[in-house]
Symmetry: C2
Subunit: 429 residues, 2 copies
């Protein structure tokens, strides 16, 4: 049991902040036991860790990010999705066939996440078995929370990356069992099935992964309706399915309440209804959607329709894992969308913060809030460096941290009550 | 005379990079004397400062930024321009009536510019005479280049900020003469007339400033066609002028080749023609235009039309002075614009870099390039921290610095051959 004191801010719902100036947070067995302005009677004699005037906020949850792309992030954005994948991303991911390369790059990636305050993430590795083990071990070492999957891709890849259907399924199962044995007692670290996207996976592979999802009760993550050329290609590849989204559903790759689909920019009404029915979490990647000229996702429309949406970095489709920047880009994109579609109101700061904390956290259980029973995932923010002579309210200070601050303001990172190991050791070149 | 060696990158034109791997830059009397791969015969025996494998690039030129808004940046973006000004910006600027407050905040602002590699800027101060002197002295101390003007605003302000027409003109002239006397021998530091924008300045004030521009041969900076409500208001205020842009022209506030207009999102064809005729430099503020939901400026259309455009931060209309981020946001905004207007091709990385260096530099003379005769304004970039196991070309390394890097990569900042004083001393609270 630990008691923390400081300025506590979180969003129990999408439209409201709870603020406790000089409040208390009691953590017990990794969970929030109490949050409030008064320390309850029975705890009055306990030791308190006092963070003074600093801010205590939930850690960020990044529900879509590509670990093997950090080594190449920011390069090649003159292209759209499909040529960018072939020219830059696939060749970069091919390097992870070399376990030593992975051993150098993955600690950098995990440090980059923690540096910017991401405490849990849903991660695409490359298609390589051994390198993905390295990534999982690295995440375990850091203490952050994650769903991780080796990418499955048995068609339309470059030769160095392409798998056979059989190898892809066999290695996936091997990894699932390895992870269960090694990390089965680590509830914050889990496997997620990761078919890259429809053009990369044959029907046989998708069928096999769909069966694994049922057999091992595993979640699924993939990409949907990101780019217009991509959508046209999927239509060609799968005329038998009603839509891009239906291809996943037709292969049992949309387990209810256990599926993340990234991008979802250009969905039809029928696809929206399907995703709602299957309780899919949409990973909204506003920065990537601009960097790769994919368009703007109609976020307000989806929220009004009752879809689950959370903010994601999609790094290397975008150029940073910094979730504060992704909150800002989500809000900016919604403002531009509103400019072109006046019926869809822009996203507020409160909504942006919720979508990067509690909305994404829901995929991991009770995560992303400081309500009783939630996992104690927290950041301690020292905003002294960015304060000015102006008087700012607690909420304005948080706004300043998100808009103006950077990683140097993040003093501590907790996951399930334990402080993360940051930075973890990076191998030398 | 100094000789520098390193990896040299700059954009002599909007479509082309010049790259010298392990090249030489010779600086003489603050200007570039030579750039190339070979050290000319006659310099072979001179001492060379070797920056090793680092990158040497032109400093960034920010052609539109608000000094008194750094203390409040990032707050209040739930509003559009007009309510945001009244609710957040004017009250923040009112603090600069206190010279001590200015003495604390302005060094922070100047350090923030230099931190992120801005070596010259066109700066709006507040309307206060004494505080603006503090700002000018602070910039002089740092050695960066700037045009600075006290804001003129004699209508529609909050009471604490509003000036009389007479005071506004008198104090402006006093400042011009003070600056001429104190810094007349400092060619990189100059006065620029700064009518806030039409709704803030009466016809009498604009007339008076127009006369000063002619009498002292001074440049002018202001805002134009940023927000639809603002444009409607200007139409109401000045039915006698053909357009928002014509209001400035009708008051002699568009001196040919010496005028910067910020935003220019919603210009008519006639306004575009007027700005072209008067050789106006458009300060393109893509991030601010998203943060304040103002829209997307049709950058490609303006470039094709032959208008002069440069990238600007417009901080606090945006939340950062970091010009690398503004390059990225300019490219992103142009991609989204292209998505909605397929005839207007997105901006390339090369174009983005040019618009933040040589395009803006043109307002300061021969600035923003390493061609012979240009001012030696340079940044030395140590990108070791962001390098990965991937092999990257020089241009890809620059792309990585712009997209993925941050101020910690900037090792040195030169203006007219002299290294800037950074950080300058900040007063204590």
């Amino acid at each position: 049991m630990k008691i923390y004191k400081g300025n506590i801010l979180f969003t129990p719902s999408v439209h409201e902040f709870t603020l406790y100036q000089q409040g208390y947070l009691i953590e017990e067995e990794g969970k929030v036991k109490y949050t409030g302005v008064q320390l309850p009677e029975e705890y009055q004699k306990e030791q308190v860790t006092d963070f003074g005037d600093k801010l205590i906020i939930p850690g960020f949850n990044d529900v879509h990010v590509h670990a093997p792309q950090w080594c190449n992030a920011g390069i090649g954005f003159s292209m759209e999705l499909l040529p960018w994948l072939n020219t830059y991303t696939f060749p970069a991911e091919a390097h992870f066939g070399d376990v030593e390369f992975a051993g150098k790059e993955y600690p950098r990636f995990v440090n980059e996440l923690l540096k910017h305050g991401t405490t849990r993430a849903c991660i695409f590795a490359s298609r390589h078995l051994e390198a993905t083990k390295v990534l999982i071990d690295t995440i375990a070492e850091s203490g952050m929370g994650a769903y991780v999957g080796k990418v499955n891709m048995d068609r339309n890849a470059i030769p160095e990356l392409q798998e056979t259907t059989e190898d892809s399924l066999r290695e996936t199962e091997e990894l699932i069992l390895w992870m269960k044995e090694k990390y089965g007692d680590t509830p914050k670290l889990n496997y997620i099935l990761t078919p890259r996207y429809v053009p990369s996976t044959t029907s046989d592979l998708m069928d096999g992964l769909g069966k694994m999802s049922a057999e091992y009760h595993l979640p699924v993550q993939s990409h949907l309706d990101e780019n217009r050329d991509e959508i046209a290609w999927v239509r060609q590849l799968h005329p038998e399915s009603a839509s891009f989204a239906d291809v996943y559903e037709d292969h049992d790759l949309m387990p209810k309440g256990r599926t993340i689909m990234a991008h979802c920019i250009h969905m039809t009404e029928e696809e929206m209804a399907l995703l709602k029915r299957k309780d899919v979490l949409i990973a909204h990647c506003a920065m990537s959607n601009a960097d790769l000229a994919s368009g703007i996702m109609p976020l307000r429309k989806y929220l009004d329709f009752g879809l689950n949406v959370a903010i994601a970095s999609d790094m290397g489709g975008s150029h940073t894992v910094n979730m504060a920047e992704h909150i800002v880009d989500t809000i900016k994109a919604s403002k531009i969308y509103w400019f072109y579609h006046p019926q869809d109101k822009a996203i507020s700061f409160t909504e942006g913060f919720y979508l990067a904390t509690k909305a994404g956290g829901s995929f991991f259980g009770k995560v992303g809030s400081f309500e009783e029973g939630y996992q104690f995932d927290a950041l301690v923010i020292d905003d002294g460096r960015i304060r000015s002579g102006m008087e700012h309210s607690l909420l304005e200070r948080l706004e300043r941290f998100i808009y103006v601050g950077d990683s140097s303001c993040i003093e501590k990172r907790f996951v399930s009550g334990k402080e993360c190991v940051y930075p973890i050791k990076e191998g030398k070149e």
